[in-house]
Symmetry: C2
Subunit: 170 residues, 2 copies
């Protein structure tokens, strides 16, 4: 019989070891690392980061977004979004088209390949979310949403929108 050398530290012990502010901060990093690893092996065709860009596209129901608008929504740098965009355009999942009114702008559109992908993974995604939230009520989820949302507002010091700043320029 051989003991594995390291001790298990449970999440409950974490809360006894340090202030909850520290504990939650670390937990979020570890949890998101695990989620991203799971996401990267979930889709055959795309990475987890590419998936998130596609998910954010769905927030733009009125008008297809530009790369800058997506960067705001995703909380990424423009450079970062452009790299992810290029990969998805190369895979023919997205396409860029010149804006009708402003020729300097390009707007981003889904292709028919994206629609096939979305359909292919629809059930698998629902099963995954069911597993992830098992035993957690809608109210609990909304509560976490509201608190993380307040942390996001504190972090950006902005108006708290997922898409970030919007307004009127003089």
């Amino acid at each position: 019989m051989q003991y594995i050398a390291y001790m298990q530290i449970t999440n409950d012990q974490i809360l006894n070891m340090m202030p909850p502010q520290f504990g939650l901060f670390g937990l979020l990093f570890a949890f998101m690392n695990r989620l991203q690893a799971a996401g990267d092996s979930f889709y055959e065709e795309i990475t987890c980061k590419q998936w998130f860009l596609l998910a954010c596209m769905n927030l733009y129901s009125k008008e297809a977004p530009t790369a800058n608008e997506l960067a705001e929504t995703m909380g990424c740098s423009r450079q970062n979004v452009k790299e992810i965009l290029n990969a998805l355009v190369k895979k023919e999942i997205l396409v860029l088209k010149q804006d009708d009114n402003d020729k300097r702008k390009q707007r981003i559109y889904f292709t028919s390949k994206q629609k096939k992908l979305a359909k292919k993974y629809q059930n698998k995604e629902m099963d995954f979310l069911k597993l992830l939230y098992e035993g957690i009520s809608d109210d609990e989820i909304k509560n976490v949403f509201q608190i993380i949302s307040r942390m996001e507002k504190n972090l950006t010091g902005a108006t708290g929108g997922v898409t970030g700043v919007a307004g009127i320029q003089a």
Copy 2:
């Protein structure tokens, strides 16, 4: 006067647009992207991912960890942890030493440079956490911790420890 072309979507609207399960999933990605961007410009000497590895080192009070143990704690692949480790060893913030009992194992230790770094950023880190959690009570933070912790258990299907599996081998 010129309107910025895109509409602001607030986090509250998100909850009216989709089930909270979807909303929280997306919010976590966007929030962590923003947090990582903030972290990358927070420290002069290290990236946000390097910071997280150093933070996880503090969980091992009894015995310095191995790379595999850190990978479990951080929720990263071993390959990923080794890249981060190599960068920190190169910067002389960490050092690897052979295990006393098992020569095939290397354990990871802080250097005096790490201790200087920790001291340098101590106040700045406290100020950042104060800002991030402004207006959010300890109970609210603990509540979020517990729910994310349950999501992590659901995700790993494991025993829920931050450091993952531990046990006895036959």
